[in-house]
Amino acid sequence: MSELTKKSLTEIANLIKKKEIKSEEVTQSFIKNIEKDKKLNSFITKCSESALKKAKDFDKKPKLDNLLPGIPIAVKDLFCTSGVKTTAGSKMLENFIPNYESTITNNLWNEGAFLLGKLNCDEYAMGSSNETSYFGNVMNPIAENTVPGGSSGGSASALAADLTPATIGTDTGGSIRQPASFTGTVGLKPTYGLCSRWGIVAFASSLDQAGPMTRNVEDCALMLEAMAGFDEKDSTSINKKKENYSKNLTDKIKGLKIGIPKEYRVEGMPKEIDKLWENGKKILKDSGAEIVDISLPNTKYALPAYYIVAPAEASSNLARYDGVKYGFRSSKGNNLIEMYENTRSEGFGDEVKRRILIGTYVLSSGYYDAYYLKAQKVRQLIKNDFDQAFKKVDTILTPSTPSSAFKIGEKKDDPISMYLNDIFTVPVNLAGIPAISIPAGHDNNKFPLGLQLIGKPLDEQKLLNIAFAAEKKINFKQTLNRWWEK
């Protein structure tokens, strides 16, 4: 079936469960698409051979009562996969092969899936356009030479181009939701602590969360169900009972209250985004939800606070990359200090260096109070804003991004303009709450744009339900002419 790769994850899983298709067929189809791609550069490591073998093994003895039976899945190259190179998009880990498996990917394999390949991303997850990867830029399937967003750019690109039926990414300031918006796909950042961080290359520990990236909301619920769960190896993992997100998915959202925060209407926002936002409101109202105007007064301070907290934590998390235990080691340097300085100078790219320096600075003596401590206070204020709002509403509706995908190279020389991509997504990470981006329509250039739904802590089911209802009514369609195969 050549159209197999266009089917949703849920459909494919059902077909395998009903024994109407075999895993080998499915895997072969996606491998074909991967091989035909000449331009996207969404894969860093392709695992076609081993995936095919695993597919054949599955078909010999199929276990059909799992969530993802015989499904090949490519994952962001930030998840440590045992025996398979894990680079984090960096020269520093160019040849690093972990001998351990991240909890999240292990959860997927336990549900019957297997590894299709490792996907390109911004270096150490720092970026909003997948232009900082040591392994080159990734292209957005919607148009040549456009960015897919970042940092999970390779994931979003591969997903939108049907090179993988579903994928997982990580979201620290918007790195799942923003690429989802740019590529016309669905991306969810769960509540902080719902998904384990063990075995994921750490960027900013109090903000990082792994999450599903899929073509529709139904698939998203299925993936989240497979991923989520308590992990005793992660001290920030929440100990709660597993939920059946996919089984309990419904579009009945009557009576739910949707908040519209006025502070998300920013100056200079393209009219198309406003239009889509209004359309989203209308759709939800038509589905029986109530629209409530709310205020999140400290919204504009989220981005500056984020650019203190995230680099600070990153500067400390990346201190372990010193060329001693694993990864790249510079051949220059006559003593230990020189070896460190050269290794880290040669091993890290520019954006990573920038953020490490920012982080080192804001934690340094004399500056801690003015910057880091201040940012943590602002973070508390932002969290308070959401707590207050959620007393009145169940979910909050906002645009996902302030623009659609831009051209490769367009924002590279202006860090601030790049950072502003995350203006709608960052407050969510600071507050540790869940949010999902679903495609809402197109702008005048026919580029996709997303709408974001923000939920209460651990309220993923409600979030998915509302997204499910909206998705049905929006009926987003995206046909790409597969220019990357030419």
């Binding site: 440590c80 894990t86 984090a88 880990l93 690093f96 972990p98 351990y100 991240s102 961080r197 063990w198 075995g199 994921i200 290359v201 750490a202 900013a204 520990s205 109090s206 005793e232 190896k233 992660d234 001290s235 920030t236 600070a312 934590e313 500067s315 400390s316 990346l318 201190a319 372990r320 010193d322 001693v324 235990k325 694993y326 230990l336 200090i337 460190y340 080192t360 934690l363 340094s364 003596s365 801690y368 880091y372």
Partner: protein
């Protein structure tokens, strides 16, 4: 240098100087596994065999705290009469070194688990209270080995991540002797509690020593220097003496002291500045986002307090009261838990006075001679009790007992067996003794007459002769009694 009087002072060229010392003691927590990982903490393992992915800071690794280490820290805090803080935070202390795989150490900065406390030192000049500033938990670093290769350093991470308690004293110490007493007391308390074995040769206990000087009578603190990582009391004392003198010489020549970190060179017996200074002090502390704040349950603290064993100070007071010991004797017998346990076991059945004299005298001498601890001595408490009972019951004399002990300390044999096999029992049969005495008296009638007419000193002669005749085995008390009767 200084006289052994009330105050320890350094005589400079222009006057007398007081030394002000504060200690930061790093004590390895006694536990099976490390503070944030499940690797073993046993000493002496093959390099890098007690290292997990977490200890070597692989990408994506996360810490999970060891419950027992928390309890050990609380126990120690209670033993230091300190305030236990119900809320504490783990912070990252960021710096780069080959034996610090994470590039940061998980420690505690602004909110330590234990606050202010106090311990009492026993000094020959009397007791002195020394303030404790705080106690916190932190990870130990690995080991860098510099001398196995001319151009490389080898790194062993076995020790990386082992739990340490850092105990910071107030700057209340004033002499090398006080430092000795402080470290010994700290060590004794932790050994009593079982929270740290205090084995300095194995590195379980080490200290950073902060030294400053000021003119005698001055109340302001001078600029201090920190001497890092001193791993024996003797070296601490030598380092303090050298450093204090160095500072006095500088100040008296009109120069000022740079606040810096120094090392003690054990071969040259001097302190010198560490080259990696400057930025070494900007640790950029911030709360570790991989962990949550620690909130201690009041009930847990109460339970730990209730279950605390008797500590040296309490035991000392009790020994003085219950066993009629002098403060000095009590001090000695409580200095180690093993010694106090030994003493208490012996006196369960045996005479207290004899017990204390034999333990503090002959037994301790034998331990020093062989450089072993009381637990390693072949003379167990049970055997010691037996020996003492043999004296009390008159089976052997005190002098014979010393002979028996000489054999016991080498072979570990039962005293009863030794006495029997060598036939060392005292002759205590009055009839037998009378016979011998009669013989001596009849052989020395002239001296007997002299004694009866007033030469009292001759009594000793007769005793000596009886002893000789009996091969030294005559019961001296009985000999005295019978002789006295016969010489009336």
């Amino acid at each position: 240098m200084s006289e052994k009087s009330e105050k320890y002072l350094i005589s400079g060229e222009k006057g007398k100087w007081e030394v002000v010392i504060g200690l930061e003691v790093h004590a390895q927590v006694t536990s099976n596994s490390k503070l944030f990982s499940g690797s073993s903490t046993k000493f002496g393992a093959e390099p890098n065999t007690q290292v997990s992915l977490i200890d070597s800071a692989f990408p994506g690794m996360l810490p999970v705290i060891n419950e027992y280490c928390i309890q050990q820290a609380v126990k120690t805090g209670l033993g230091l009469n300190a305030k236990i803080n119900p809320y504490s935070v783990f912070d990252r202390k960021n710096y780069f070194y080959a034996d610090l795989p994470q590039g940061y150490q998980i420690s505690q900065y602004k909110n330590p688990i234990v606050g202010e406390g106090e311990i009492t030192l026993d000094l020959p000049t009397g007791s002195k209270k020394v303030g404790i500033e705080r106690l916190h938990l932190e990870q130990d670093a690995g080991k860098s080995i510099h001398d196995l290769d001319p151009s490389s350093t080898f790194v062993d991470l076995n020790r990386s991540g082992v739990a340490l308690m850092e105990i910071v004293s107030k700057p209340d110490l004033r002499s090398p002797d006080e430092v000795n007493a402080y470290v010994k007391k700290l060590r004794s308390i932790m050994r009593y509690l079982g929270t740290c074995d205090g084995n300095m040769q194995e590195g379980s206990l080490r200290a950073d020593v902060n030294v400053s000087v000021r003119k005698e009578g001055d109340t302001k603190l001078g600029t201090r220097c920190e001497i890092k990582n001193v791993n024996s009391i003797k070296f601490m004392q030598m380092a303090i003496i050298y450093e204090a003198k160095r500072q006095v010489e500088l100040l008296e020549s009109g120069k000022s002291i740079d606040q810096e970190t120094r090392l003690f060179d054990t071969k040259k017996n001097e302190t010198r500045s560490m080259r990696s200074k400057e930025d070494a002090h900007d640790y950029r502390y911030f709360p570790d986002p991989d962990l949550l704040p620690l909130n201690l349950d009041k009930k847990l603290i109460e339970k730990i307090k209730k279950d605390l064993p008797e500590l040296p100070d309490e035991k000392k007071e009790r020994f003085i009261k219950e066993h009629s010991l002098t403060p000095y004797e009590a001090n000695v017998l409580v200095s180690e838990k093993e010694i106090s346990n030994y003493f208490e076991e012996v006196i369960k059945t045996s005479d207290k006075k004899l017990a204390k004299n034999w333990i503090m005298g002959d037994l301790f001498a034998s331990l020093n001679e062989k450089n072993i601890s009381i637990s390693e001595s072949p003379v167990t408490a049970k055997k010691m009790a037996q020996l003492i009972d043999s004296i009390s019951s008159g089976v052997i004399s005190g002098r014979t007992a010393k002979e028996v002990f000489e054999i016991m300390k080498e072979t570990g044999e039962d005293p009863k067996k030794i006495i029997e096999s060598k036939g060392l029992q005292q002759k205590s049969d009055p009839k037998e003794l009378e016979k011998i005495i009669d013989k001596i008296l009849s052989d020395n009638q002239d001296k007997a007459e002299q004694y009866k007419s007033g030469k009292d000193k001759l009594f000793g002669f007769f005793v000596g002769q009886v002893m000789k005749e009996s091969g030294g085995k005559a019961n001296p008390q009985l000999v005295n009694e019978i002789l006295k009767k016969k010489l009336k």
